[in-house]
């Protein structure tokens, strides 16, 4: 195993920090190239007129998921050493719902709002300011939220562990579902335009 480079000691703390703006730059570049800096385009997903968000998001997820699976399989990347976001079922269900409502209202998500703002879109700047306000409100109300915030914790739980089936099987099911989704998305766009 040679990767993650930060965990196997190939790059140090400085190198890790140095990689951050480079990785971010490439991420922002592709978001903008795909048109995800434009709020009406993103919001179009909710009315089935423009499914770019779905296509970009799931082709990205599929690429990273399959890449990580094969690199781990061939012993290049040790997935045990990659940080997996911890699961808190109810906070993530409620947080996801609040986020979805905000996404619909704002038409941009946190990353794409920065891209929109950087391209001169004032609505992007408004989303950025709103996000910061939301975080301040959350922090101010933390005493009341803390118990719920920490509830239904499962730790770094993966679908593989939860379902007790192999990683390859989960990856295959998601890959097939995503490809089916792409086909359906294209049909929907064709009939709506």
């Amino acid at each position: 195993m040679t990767a993650p480079l930060s965990e196997t000691g190939i790059i140090g703390a400085q190198g890790t920090l140095l990689a951050a703006p480079v990785i971010g730059f490439a991420f922002g570049w592709f978001l903008e190239r795909g048109g995800l800096g434009s709020a009406p385009k993103l919001a179009g997903q909710f009315y089935f007129v423009d499914l770019t968000v779905f296509k970009v998001m799931f082709s990205a997820l599929l690429t990273a998921m399959l890449g990580a699976f094969w690199l781990d399989f061939f012993g290049v990347l040790d997935l045990e050493l990659v940080y997996i976001p911890e699961t808190f079922v109810l906070p993530q269900a409620v947080g996801g719902a609040l986020f979805g409502a905000g996404f619909l209202l704002g038409g941009l998500c946190p990353g794409t709002s920065c891209v929109a703002a950087a391209a001169g879109r004032l609505d992007g700047i408004a989303v950025v300011c709103g996000m910061l306000a939301g975080v301040f409100i959350f922090n101010s109300a933390f005493d009341w939220i803390a118990e719920f915030y920490a509830s239904t914790s499962l730790g770094p739980m993966t679908l593989t562990n939860m379902l007790g089936i192999s990683r390859g099987a989960v990856v295959a099911v998601i890959a097939i579902a995503a490809v089916a989704g792409f086909t359906i998305a294209t049909r929907i766009e064709d009939t709506r335009s």
């Binding site: 993650p4 730059f25 911890e86 993530q92 996404f103 391209a119 300011c129 993966t158 679908l159």
Partner: protein
């Protein structure tokens, strides 16, 4: 003005960036975490103290958001977006909105949407980048809970917000 890339081309590009992030730094990409770090640093410098809500973002006495991985990454996202928009001739000062509303209404809706997303991302411990993409590709259960809940709510409420966009 150049046309946008094919969505699958952009998606595969983002997927390779995310994969590179796993390989190089052992973690995925994010966005809302950087907002949380900046907000925590601002709160701490104003009040001179940390709280249970802000302390996790200010470990080891690190008060400068510029030493935070996600903040540096989000600076990169902004520069990358700027460079791409500039080279494609898409830079312009504008308020992008649906045909049925004015600029002021759009700004108000955008700000309110941001508040909801700030609250939601804090509660869910991530957003479309840190949860949906990063955790989704790593098969995290909570990330898939977030993906389903986020988009189900968006589609469910969409008819109510129709005037904003159509």
């Amino acid at each position: 003005m150049k046309r946008y890339s094919d969505p699958y081309f952009a998606g595969i590009g983002i997927g390779l960036v995310l994969l590179a992030s796993y390989v190089v730094v052992g973690r995925g990409i994010g966005a809302s975490g950087a907002f949380a770090s900046i907000a925590a640093a601002v709160s701490a410098s104003v009040s001179g103290a940390t709280s249970p809500a802000t302390a996790p973002y200010l470990q080891d006495g690190v008060r400068s958001p510029l030493k935070d991985w996600l903040v540096l990454e989000l600076v990169g996202v902004t520069l990358g977006g700027f460079t791409s928009a500039w080279l494609a001739g898409r830079m312009r000062i504008d308020v992008e909105r649906g045909p049925g509303i004015g600029s002021r209404q759009r700004i108000a809706a955008a700000f309110s949407g941001g508040i909801f997303m700030g609250l939601g991302a804090k509660l869910a411990r991530g957003c479309t980048s840190g949860q949906a993409l990063t955790g989704g590709a790593l098969l995290s259960v909570g990330s898939w809970v977030f993906i389903v809940s986020c988009f189900a709510t968006g589609y469910l409420l969409a008819p109510l917000a129709r005037r904003l966009w159509r």
